[in-house]
Every structure is written in C-alpha cells, then in structure tokens.
Amino acid sequence: MIAIEYFIGLSAILFIIGAVGVLTRKSAIVVLMCIELMLNAANINFVAFSAYSGNMNGMVFALVSIAIAAAEVAVGLAIVLNLYKARDTIGLDEVNLLRW
C-alpha cells in the first residue's frame, strides 16, 4: 500500500498551485480552474484519510463536495460569461468600476 504521506503531499502541492493561481492569474476562467484544483486537493485528502482509517464518511464527503464543485462551476461560468457580455473582458484586473 502506498504510504499516506504521498497522498497528503500530492494534495498539498495541488492546493498550493491552486492558491497561487487564484492570487496571481488575471483571467477569470483560469481563476475558476484554480479554485477547482483547491477543492480537488481537499477531496484527495478526504479519500486518502477515509481509505486509511476505514471510515466511509470521508468518501461520502468527497462525493458531496464533487457535486457541489460541479454546481459551483455551472454558476461560475454563467457569471463569467455574463461579465464578458456586459464588459467585453474577463480580465480580473480590468474590472475595476467598484473601488474606494
């Protein structure tokens, strides 16, 4: 059996890639993809912990959160598409009407 540290390491790397992407990328679509990476990193954790402890709740949580992530992308893409229609751009650095 593969040691659990590898799974945790993989999920930590995925999570960091996602977090850095959210903070640095300008395109709303890429940012959405990075958020997905972060959510999936958590799912890897759930499944790995669940498989190693023999407790099924983690698997259930992973399934639930996959469904939620799908819903989030559906709403998210619609909102990004709407931004493109309204403002002709999806660059997060170019949408700056609202600021103090």
Partner: protein
C-alpha cells in the same frame, strides 16, 4: 431504520416553494403576485419552526453512522431570523424588481438561499454544514448577478464568486485536515477526538485552524479578508445587499460558532488571541474606512464589517455569556442593518441616488422614511433605548466579565476597543442624520414610497424599537440558544 425527516420540514417547505415559483410564473406574471406566493412559503416555513418551538423539537435527523441535522432552540432561533430577513427582502423586492426579467427565478433563489442558511443553523456535522453554506452561497452569487445588463452588478458577481469559491476551498481543506486528525466529521466527535489527543503543538491542527479562520473569515468579511464586501454590496441590487448583510453574513457567523466553539473548543488556547486581534482590527478598520465613504451602500458595508468585529468578540472570549450576547447582537443587527438597506432600496426605487449627499433634505421629502433611517442608524451606533444599545452593552460586558478570570485580563481590551469604536461610528451615522434633517436639499418635492417597501421597512423598524424597549424575551431565547450550542462553556 427509516429516516425521520421532521426536522427538515421548515427547509423542505421553502425548497418546494422555490421549485414551484417558476411554474407559478406561467399563471401569475407580476412581480407582486410572485412575491405574495414567496411570502406564503416563508410564513408557512416559519409556522413549522414556531410549532416546533412551542410543542417540542423533533428527533435528530441522520443515519446510524452520521448525524446530520438537529432542530434545537439555537437552530430554531436562527431559522426565524433568516426567515424574517427573507420576508422583508421579498417584500422590498416586490416593487424593486418589477421592471426586470426572470422575476420568478429571483424569488426562487432567495428562498433557496434562505433554506441553505437554515440548514447551516441545524447542522451537527461538517457535511451538512458545508452543503448548507454552499447552497446559500451559490444562490447568492446568482442573485448578485441578477441585473445582467448592469456593469457594476456583473463585476460584483465575479468578485463575489472568486472570493466565495476560494473561501469554500480553504474551509474544505481545513475540514479535510480535521477529518484526517480525528477520523470523524461530526462536530462534537471532532471535539472529543481533539480533547483525547496529547496536548502540545499539533501542526496539522494549526493548519486546519488557519484554513478555517481564513475560509470563514472571507464569508463574514473580517479584516484582512474584507475587501470584497463593499464592492459586492455596492454592485448588487439593494434588497440583495440587505440579504447578504443580514442573512449570508449571519450564516457565516453561525458556521463559525459551530466550528470554533463546538468542534475546536478543545484547542481554544491556540486561537483565542488570534480571534481577539482579528476582532479589534476588524472593528477599527471597518469603522475608520466607513468615515470617508461617499456612497451610502459602501458606508453601510464598512459599518457591517465593523459590526462583524463586535460579533467576533464571542469567539475570542469563548464564554457562554459572550455567545449569548453575540447571538443577541446578530439578531438586532439583522434588523437594523437590513432596515437601513431596505430604506436605501426604497429611496433608489423612487430614483434617489445612492450617494450620501443625495440624502440632504430627506426629512422634508419623505419624513417617515427619513425618521426610520435615523432610528436604524442610531440603533447601529448603539443609542439607548434602541435594540443595538442593549446588544452592545451585553457584548462588551461579557468581555469585561471574562477578563476577571485569571490569565484572561487582556480581554478587557476587546471591550475598550469596542466602546471606542462605537463612539467613532457615531460620527458617520450622525452625519447621514444631519444631512437628512438639518441640511436643505436641492428640492422639497415629496417622495412617495410604495406600500410593499414601506412594509419591509416597518418590519425592521418594529423589531428594532420593540427589542430595544422590551429586550427580555429575546435575551431569554438567546440564553437558551447559547446553552444549547455550547453547553460545556462556563
């Protein structure tokens, strides 16, 4: 074993109405009739909650291995708060969106968002908590983007989506670490798992605390995770800004209470000081930045951030009295801040601008509405005998009470910072009142506010004044709720 669904009835009623609204739209075309149907849905859901409050609560819902939802006095109290918020938002929206398309979906999303909030209030497991949070968040992303042609609305929705998505990802990762440490997602199970472990520095638990604090910090907009809130509140349709400030934000606090004060209470020495620093930063920055705002919705958003700082005091102090006072403040804030947003919605419906300077001379143009706005703002500032005064007194005295305990002397600074901030906030609230009643506006033409918007304002006004004059029953309920949530705290 058959599942007992009775705890879920208040939520199911809302979901059924939400699903039925688009069909109702085939017969009832006007936004007013759709709002009427939504009001029926909210009131019947409220009826279930009140029935359970009077006649005993239903059994906990869940299977043999996972308990999911429990309707107790804490959940019922917050369910009622969320339903009242939904009620006045729907009433205000009846006229506010009358010229927009997709009205049925709008009301349907409000009902879904509210049902998600109620699920959060009932959750006893992180799975149900997360599902409730996301149900409410996804619906509110769509609601912020409701006016599709509005450039600012489209921008606000994208900002809200990105921040909200990141905050869910952070909290989900934190939850996954907690699950790895303790092997359970049940809130009380996590607590006993953590308490049973050897004390000392546990890096995974630390990381989980940091992730959860950041994730929920974004949801409730505490400094330094607050920058999105003013943008989103300004860009969203005004009744929805009210729903976000009075509903979504409170839901974030409920989730925070459950995670920190129930699941992570064994580690409270690790996060108490951090929460106290965040509380003081949040109230100070929120109030200081609110001083220089020229847009009324942005000003209310920053004042909301300041008020969130007061509510975090409960997490920093972590005593039963503090939780009780924070619940009380959440309730009073839901009505005073919601009421202020409803006044802004009513005034922008009659084509008054959203700049604070536009409110000059309002006292002559719409005396009753200006008077209610004045009452909401003074309640937010904490002027007796309005509701906001009592809840602030309770919060600050809970911090002073807790500072009497050995090693907790620093907590008195929370109360001092809170009192100084209240004095500071009076300045920008009083400025709006001065504009409305002392200054002369460019015109004295009367403004006519439609009935449904006045009704929404009236609900908030009655609650703000009634809780101020007669706070005992509400305080009583808050005490029971705090005892139900955190039976172990002193």
């Amino acid at each position: 074993m058959a599942l007992d669904y009775s705890a879920l009835y208040p939520v199911l009623v809302m979901v059924i109405f939400a699903a039925a609204l688009p069909a109702v739209n085939l017969v009832a075309k006007s936004s007013r009739s759709l709002a009427g149907v939504s009001v029926v849905g909210i009131l019947s859901s409220m009826g279930f909650v009140i029935y359970y409050m009077l006649n005993g609560y239903p059994a906990m819902m869940g299977g043999e291995t996972v308990l999911l939802l429990r309707l107790d006095v804490f959940a019922a109290l917050f369910a009622l708060v969320f339903q009242f918020v939904a009620l006045y938002v729907v009433l205000a929206s009846a006229r506010y969106i009358e010229k927009d398309r997709h009205q049925a979906e709008y009301f349907s999303l409000i009902m879904l968002a509210t049902s998600g909030m109620i699920v959060v209030a009932m959750a006893v497991d992180l799975i149900s908590l997360f599902v409730g949070l996301e149900t409410a968040s996804l619906s509110s992303y769509a609601l912020v983007a409701f006016r599709k042609r509005d450039k600012r609305g489209a921008e606000a929705a994208v900002k809200y989506l990105v921040i909200g998505g990141m905050s869910s990802a952070l909290s989900l990762y934190g939850i996954s670490l907690l699950y790895g440490i303790t092997g359970t997602t049940n809130l009380e199970g996590i607590n006993s798992g953590l308490a049973a472990m050897s004390s000392g520095l546990n890096p995974a638990a630390w990381l989980a605390i940091a992730m959860l604090l950041a994730g929920f910090g974004f949801k409730v907009a505490i400094v330094p995770f607050h920058q999105w809130a003013p943008d989103v509140y300004e860009g969203a349709p005004t009744p929805i800004s009210g729903l976000l400030a009075a509903g979504s934000k409170k839901m974030g606090f409920v989730a925070m209470f459950k995670v920190f004060l129930v699941a992570l209470i064994a580690l409270k020495a690790d996060w108490q000081i951090l929460a106290a620093i965040l509380a003081i930063l949040t109230m100070t920055i929120g109030n200081v930045v609110a001083l220089q705002q020229t847009n009324i919705k942005r000003m209310l958003a920053y004042s909301s951030i300041g008020q969130a700082g007061y509510m975090i005091i409960a997490i920093a102090v972590a005593s039963q009295f503090a939780v009780e006072s924070s619940i009380f403040h959440i309730i009073t804030h839901a009505f005073m801040k919601g009421g202020a947003f409803m006044v802004v919605a009513a005034l922008s419906y009659v084509a008054l601008g959203e700049s604070i300077a536009d409110y000059k001379g309002l006292g002559r143009r719409a005396p009753l509405v200006a008077l209610s706005m004045g009452i909401f703002l003074f309640a937010l500032a904490g002027i007796p005998p309005l509701s906001g005064f009592w809840s602030k007194v309770f919060l600050f005295s809970s911090a002073i009470d807790a500072s009497q305990v050995v090693d907790q002397g620093w907590m008195v600074w929370l109360a001092i910072a809170g009192i100084l901030n209240s004095a500071l906030s009076l300045y920008y609230y009083a400025r709006v009142v001065k504009y409305m009643f002392v200054d002369d506006g460019p015109t004295t033409e009367r403004l006519k506010i439609p009935l449904s918007l006045s009704a929404a304002i009236a609900i908030c006004l009655v609650a703000t004044i009634a809780i101020g004059i007669w706070p005992e029953p509400v305080i009583d309920l808050c005490e029971q709720a705090a005892r139900a949530l955190v039976p172990l705290l002193g």
